[in-house]
Symmetry: C2
Subunit: 247 residues, 2 copies
DNA sequence: TCTTTGTATATTGTCAACAATCTACAAAAC
DNA sequence: GTTTTGTAGATTGTTGACAATATACAAAGA
């Protein structure tokens, strides 16, 4: 035990060991498929063939099947017995539901961050928002989209609540399955959306939990409306409103 | 197509077909293990041996491994490569985090239900609460516990938001991994808890979203405190407070 | 006695083969 | 021409075998 510390802790070796210890073929396949969905190379409704995927990644069907199970559990894939697995389709009704849950989670995020945010974290957020502003000015949706995701993911990370983070990510992943289709005519909205993000950061910086909570709720609600407009639908169901402080 | 309707739709056959179509061995194994954890026959930290489980259920290791993957994704199991799978241990820190997320979700539940609850649904809730009252009077924790779970699950079901339901269930399942240990000296709390449940139903029945939201938030916060007292810990971190309406 | 090293065993990771099921399409019946 | 039925091919579900890794324990050395 005593001379354990004598071992040279080459950081490269260290991470390599951890990589081998944690990453089985199944995990790798899982990550790869998740990536393909995220980048849009696989889109909603596509059928995944076990043998093809196995062939393409140079593994056998076993790990692929296990990866499918895991991804089905996260909601990215749908499995039909004896028929195959498909990239999940998210209906507008489900998107509604997800937006409602996300609003609740984001309210919690705002409330919490207003209490505990640190200056360097605020700076990091403002850097992201600046990037979004530039992308918005150029109407560059491809640059804007990942920054948007990163902004919100960072917010949740800063809460320090890892359970909240995994819950949030799961939800948002599913939402992206819907949004990818509906992201065509978003151009006009980038500037509006950026303004909302600035407002969120300012609200958090003010240290007022209610204000931050409301800013995030309103942003999610606005995003939901943009989704509807993109699909030419007006306003099916009323999402829970942000409540004012008065009576 | 026309004579399809001539087929006798024997309901028994119908469900049998659906059962065969949806339930693969993997699904069965998954459900069985989930049940074993829920009923406490498997408890946190236990190691699961692939071959033993396969033997016991009369299947091969393949489906068992797939079931493990799925359950690991839901948070019920933890997989360590080349070491095995274990029933997940939930630390008090994680329990804290989960309580915070759950509070946010339950607030949403309350707000929503206050708007849309139907009389027969209120009645159903009151039936459950009555059962809890009887169990509490007899200090019968074994009877009380499942009713408590069912009460909250029913609440979320009544929102009609299926995404909220799956999210909620996932969270609560993990919380139960912790609570099972900490449920020893709960006896004195049953009456208090029952009172809170009544308050929740009344708040929902009043149709006031804020009141219902607050009732559920406070109940979750109180549950969190009971957890702490059961472990002899006072108050580590401040969970987000329910906010009064006044400025 | 304590540590270290090596070996046997058990368990998991991966693969390839077989069985069960579905799909597509052609042949037969109406 | 339309529907039904049957068959061939493809795909998934399941299994058992083998390889890689970890664990437990005994033997050797300090």
């Amino acid at each position: 035990m005593s001379n354990m510390n004598a071992i040279q802790h080459n950081p490269t070796h260290h991470t390599t060991i951890q990589l081998l210890q944690s990453h089985s073929l199944t995990t790798l396949v899982q990550q790869e498929i998740a990536r393909l969905i995220e980048t849009g190379e696989l889109s909603a409704g596509d059928k995944l063939n076990e043998w093809s995927v196995a062939e393409r990644l140079g593994v056998s069907r076993g790990p692929v099947r296990e990866a499918f199970r895991a991804l089905a559990e996260t909601g990215l894939l749908r499995m039909e017995k004896n028929r195959g697995v498909f990239v999940r389709q998210v209906s507008i009704k489900e998107a509604e539901e997800i937006y409602e849950v996300r609003a609740a989670l984001d309210q919690l995020v705002g409330r919490r961050l207003a209490e505990i945010i640190r200056p360097e974290q605020l700076k990091e957020l403002r850097v992201i928002v600046n990037g979004m502003e530039k992308a918005a000015a150029k109407q560059d949706v491809d640059a804007y989209y990942p920054l948007n995701l990163r902004f919100h993911d960072t917010l949740v990370q800063f809460t320090g609540n890892s359970k909240l983070l995994t819950t949030y990510r799961r939800i948002v992943n599913e939402l992206n399955l819907y949004r990818r289709d509906a992201l065509a005519g978003e151009k006009g909205n980038l500037l509006v959306s950026t303004r909302e993000h600035k407002k969120i950061v300012d609200a958090i910086a003010s240290g007022d939990p209610d204000r931050a909570s409301r800013a995030l709720h309103d942003h999610v609600a606005a995003g939901r409306e943009r989704m509807h407009r993109a699909h030419g639908i007006r306003e099916p169901v009323q999402i829970t409103r942000a409540r004012k402080k008065s009576t």
